[in-house]
Amino acid sequence: MARTLLIVDDHAGFRATVRTVLAGDGFEVVGEAEDGTSALAAVERLQPDVVLLDVQLPDMNGFEVAAQLCKQNGSGPQVVLTSSRDATDFGPLVPGCGARGFIPKAELSGAVLQAVLR
């Protein structure tokens, strides 16, 4: 059974591309959110297995959203951070927020996401 996925990014064009790419690679995209607040609400409502979370959001940053989602201890979704920047730009923030991993946007594909989640 395909894993359910929530895409959180403030760029509609990117969300559409990612939806096409990951749907083709076996993920079931159950929803999209354009900022941190609506992302938290969507997780509450849709209960996705995985949240693909952009680090830079208009209202709060991805690490804060990740930290809140990871507080749910096992019951919450697996969070994977993504950004057009490199992971090294964020230093210790990526491992410290409880996310499963980080994927640079340009390298995003179903296979890479699967590898991070495994």
Binding site: G13, T17, G24, S84, K105, L108
Partner: protein
């Protein structure tokens, strides 16, 4: 005494001896001893006085005239001769001394006759005395006056009528001449200044008495011989006192020595230029005397108060003359005094010599006073506060605007800095004073102090001044404010640059980078679908191409925001035309053709760019006018719209950032934006 004077003295002695011999051998003189004594007294009073005066003032003929009176008096002794011709000559010349006396009197004190009327009077006196005597001798055998006398050698024809007529004539002319003399002397007396009158009074008194007696004796001789003789004898002695008064006048220059002695004592005690002047006034007997000190550096005279002294103006009056005072051949001072003092050149010379040292000393004081006054004026022109303070911090002197002081100046004097200023400032100043006193170096510092209800900044320079310190304090509040403003402006510029970089990073990240990431993903997707789904692949490639075009457009916009290439390549005019073309509103451009310095063009571009953006966003305007002109070495940039106005330059960072950019080039940015009257932004940027 010179040779001529010695010769005259010799002649006088000879004449005296001759007169004595004639008198004592005379067979018609009843009272030889008395007559000889009278002659000696009267004649030598004049001869002696005259010789002394002549010796003292050889250039002045007055002494000679005085001597001549005595000599001609002695000629009268010829009438004592027992021989006919000398007797007759003595009779004729017996009155000559009177004419000479009138001459001397009218020539006094200058030694010459000053006006034609005086000259005429003197000539008439000589004429009447000599001519009258001679004429009389032709008709009078003198037997009435002197029965024992020798016969008149010149007698032509005894005529009572003729002698009466001649006598009447002589008396008439004589009285007329004496009237002129009295008139002239009175006129001179009235015209004389006080010091001159003081000098003249004894001379006038004795001469006046002599003339009155003469006026009485002349007509009396026609009435009563005995009465006339009595008056005559009184006249002889009064007359003899005249030269003594002249002598007293001449000797006054001797007495002046005493005055000079007093002057030296007075000058020694004088502490002020005014006291010096008073001493000289006393010594010269001229209370109107003025004193001017020569100040060599300034090349002018100053008076006792140190103010400029115009010698020309003070000597414009005829009765005032200037006498130069020198010391060691240096011009020291000038005395402007009554012209009558010229009649006492020795006194003036002696006083000048005595006063020159004191004047030379006073002149230095006056010169110092002058420079002190100049420096004081200069000092007062300096807005700085000045204090003098001793080592313990006690104020000894203060100069400055009381509004710049924490306490009034009179309270400050004698107070200690610790009691007047806050502990931190007082401590700083005391430490500075001690450092300046110990090292002798200028110590500088700055402090902030509340004065007059406002916190103000001050800069102090402390210099050693003997055993005390001088503190020169200047307010630097405005400078500090400008420095603070400059610092803030720099900080804002740095911050604006940071904000700009963040904005760029954000724009790159949000715009082109996102599109390129999407493009990358799309291309990989297309690659994966290429074999299985050519239709889908074609759609993906189309989407990728559109995405790429958008990314390029965003990059171009971004680059233009960083620095418009057209500005660098083609100048402000072309850049502003491009801005105008992109503006949603019609823009009226009026631009100078001249290229401006690059930083000025950039600043002007951003002023216009920001202003046009503001107009588009807020102004609700229908048109904008942009002007760039070069005037007086500055670029003038103006953007004016016809919108709603009411823009507030203090709000928002856009206009503040523009002002910083313009001020960084020493320019000024002004915003005029009354509500309803449009907005006018004017930048003036120096092109130096």
């Amino acid at each position: 005494m010179k040779r001529t004077q010695l010769a005259v003295l010799g002649a006088a002695l000879g004449l005296t001896v001759a007169a004595l011999v004639l008198t004592f051998t005379s067979d018609h003189e009843d009272n030889a001893a008395l007559v000889a004594a009278g002659n000696l007294v009267a004649a030598w009073a004049f001869i002696g006085s005259g010789l002394v005066a002549w010796a003292r003032r050889p250039a002045n003929r007055f002494g000679l005239l005085l001597t001549a009176v005595g000599l001609t008096w002695l000629l009268g002794a010829l009438a004592e001769s027992n021989s006919s011709i000398p007797f007759t000559l003595g009779w004729i010349l017996g009155g000559l001394y009177l004419a000479v006396f009138v001459h001397a009197l009218l020539a006094f004190p200058r030694g010459y006759l000053e006006t034609p009327s005086v000259y005429f009077a003197v000539t008439a006196a000589y004429a009447v005395v000599l001519g009258g005597g001679l004429l009389n001798s032709f008709f009078d055998d003198f037997s009435d006056e002197c029965a024992e006398c020798p016969p008149n050698a010149f007698l032509i024809n005894e005529s009572r009528l003729a002698t009466d007529v001649i006598s009447g004539l002589i008396i008439a002319v004589g009285v007329a001449v004496l009237g002129v003399v009295v008139h002239v002397l009175l006129r001179r007396w009235r015209a004389a200044s006080k010091p001159l009158r003081r000098l003249l009074s004894p001379i006038y008194a004795t001469s006046g008495a002599s003339l009155v007696l003469l006026l009485v004796a002349l007509p009396l001789s026609a009435v009563s011989d005995s009465a006339s003789n009595a008056v005559w004898w009184v006249l002889v002695f009064v007359f003899a006192s005249v030269p003594l008064s002249f002598l007293a006048f001449v000797l006054q220059t001797r007495l002046a020595r005493a005055a000079v002695g007093d002057l030296l004592v007075d000058l020694g005690a004088a502490r002020e230029p005014k006291e010096v002047r008073a001493a000289i006034r006393r010594a010269l007997g001229d209370p109107t005397l003025l004193l001017g000190y020569w100040i060599p550096n300034a090349n002018r005279y100053v008076d006792v108060s140190g103010l400029p002294f115009d010698v020309k103006a003070h000597t414009a009056d005829e009765g005032r003359v200037a006498t130069i005072v020198e010391h060691d051949h240096d011009l020291v001072a000038v005395l402007v005094h009554d012209a009558s003092l010229l009649d006492q050149p020795e006194l003036v010379r002696a006083v000048c010599a005595a006063a020159s040292l004191a004047l030379a000393r006073e002149r230095m004081v006056q010169a110092l006073k002058g420079s002190e006054r100049r420096y004081r004026a200069l000092l007062h022109a300096i807005p700085d506060l000045m204090f003098r303070m001793d080592r313990s911090g006690t104020y000894l002197d203060v100069k400055g605007d009381p509004r710049d002081l924490t306490v009034p100046p009179e309270e400050l004097l004698g107070s200690n800095v610790r009691d007047v200023l806050p502990p931190n400032v007082a401590g700083q100043l005391l430490a500075g004073v001690r450092e300046a006193l110990e090292t002798g170096k200028v110590v500088t510092g700055e402090y902030r102090l509340e004065v007059g209800g406002a916190l103000r900044d001050w800069e102090v320079r402390i210099v050693k001044d003997g055993r005390e310190a001088a503190l020169i304090v200047r307010e630097i509040t405005e400078r500090k404010r400008q420095e603070d403003e400059l610092r803030r402006s720099r900080a804002r510029i740095v911050e604006a640059a940071d904000v700009e970089r963040r904005r760029l990073e954000r724009n790159l990240h949000d715009g082109a980078q996102q599109r390129l990431v999407s493009l990358s993903l799309t291309l990989r997707l297309a690659q994966a679908r290429l074999a299985t789904d050519p239709q889908e692949t074609e759609r993906l490639l189309k989407a990728a191409s559109d995405e790429l075009a958008l990314a390029l457009e965003e990059l171009r916009e971004l680059a233009r925001g960083i620095h418009p290439a057209v500005l660098t390549d083609r100048g402000l005019g072309a850049a502003l035309e491009a801005l105008a073309a992109r503006s949603p509103l019609p823009v009226d451009l009026a631009l100078t053709d001249e290229r401006l310095p690059e930083p000025v063009e950039a600043a002007a571009y951003y002023v216009v760019s920001e202003a046009l953006a503001n107009v588009a966003k807020y102004a609700d305007a229908s048109a904008v006018a942009v002007t760039v002109a070069r005037r007086n070495g500055s670029a003038l940039v103006e953007v004016a719209d016809d919108g709603v106005g009411g823009a507030d330059p203090t709000r928002g960072s856009g206009l503040r950032g523009l002002a910083d950019r313009v001020e960084a080039l020493d320019g000024r940015l002004r915003v005029e934006s009354s509500p309803g009257a449009g907005t006018r932004i004017r930048a003036e940027i120096p092109c130096a």
